[in-house]
Symmetry: C3
Subunit: 140 residues, 3 copies
Amino acid sequence: MFRQALHEIRISTRGRGFYEFTDAVQTWISQNHLQNGLVTLHVRHTSASLLIQENADPDVRRDLEAFFSRLVPDGDPLFVHTVEGEDDMPAHVRAALTAVNLSIPVEKARLTLGIWQGIYLWEHRRAPHQRIVTAHFLGE
Amino acid sequence: MFRQALHEIRISTRGRGFYEFTDAVQTWISQNHLQNGLVTLHVRHTSASLLIQENADPDVRRDLEAFFSRLVPDGDPLFVHTVEGEDDMPAHVRAALTAVNLSIPVEKARLTLGIWQGIYLWEHRRAPHQRIVTAHFLGE
Amino acid sequence: MFRQALHEIRISTRGRGFYEFTDAVQTWISQNHLQNGLVTLHVRHTSASLLIQENADPDVRRDLEAFFSRLVPDGDPLFVHTVEGEDDMPAHVRAALTAVNLSIPVEKARLTLGIWQGIYLWEHRRAPHQRIVTAHFLGE
């Protein structure tokens, strides 16, 4: 029998960096007895991203952050939109360069992620923020 | 009761820039009495993107365009595919760096967008184009 | 009547480059008599991407690869995560800059792709790899 479920995942960030929430999604699937279907995640902000990346060696995230910091430098004089700080416009650019929503099939109550894949909220602002990710399930 | 709906949104661009069409999607949802489900948008072109970004300060879009123009310069001698103009290959690169489809949950007949999020077609070619976005709904 | 289908598409790569698999997805849709709905593709790796791009002139892919090779150079001294080779961390960055999942509406048993759009696995590692893409259908 087909059904839907909707959930808000709240993530308190401590500023720029990666916050894995794979377990929060998987727990929600398990607790609601969702078996087979599609999970869609959508971040309701324009200065944070959703990222599926390696969750083994933490150096991967360190290097990702280093690359994006160099590619989109804070305080770049190119930017006009600076009233909210020198990291604000870079945060919007980073969000445009990455993803704000993800869709992952679910099989036998498990996200069909690869063995090394984790789901992260990528906070692009330097200050701590409260972030909301909408999780939607459609399936059986 | 589960149902589907499919719709083509046509957007006439005046060349490179951002064209918000959040209202077109929301109106289609309302007129078809779609209540809860998943909306997927897919742009049927390889030189335009779909973007969810801030729809408050227009400087955000100005700065996004400035950043991408610098990152992927028109007329870059690196490119071989130039028969359609010096902005053609940069348009393909910009499309690869951003998104061509988006999935947004719908709750109580409303897109679950954040308060500052708008949905844009990002035209990457300099000349005006007719663009088609497929909108798909699956839900109740 | 609503139904789901799940499929694993296996792609053997010969190293860095683009591997079109539009036909594999379309054949799966046809053979399972899937008519109208949503196809979601998810690549189960963190050093390969999914890309919808022009499948006409091969120079477009050549130029895309040239641009990304310049933007994220192999052996960049910025990177700390280098034990798996100088192309490993660039592969993760390329995956973050592009997409790992895609959702495409299906109408009358056909993917609603634009006339020039093909679906590619983009292998970012230099060595050959076995890649798995999960294909999920939800619809009628």
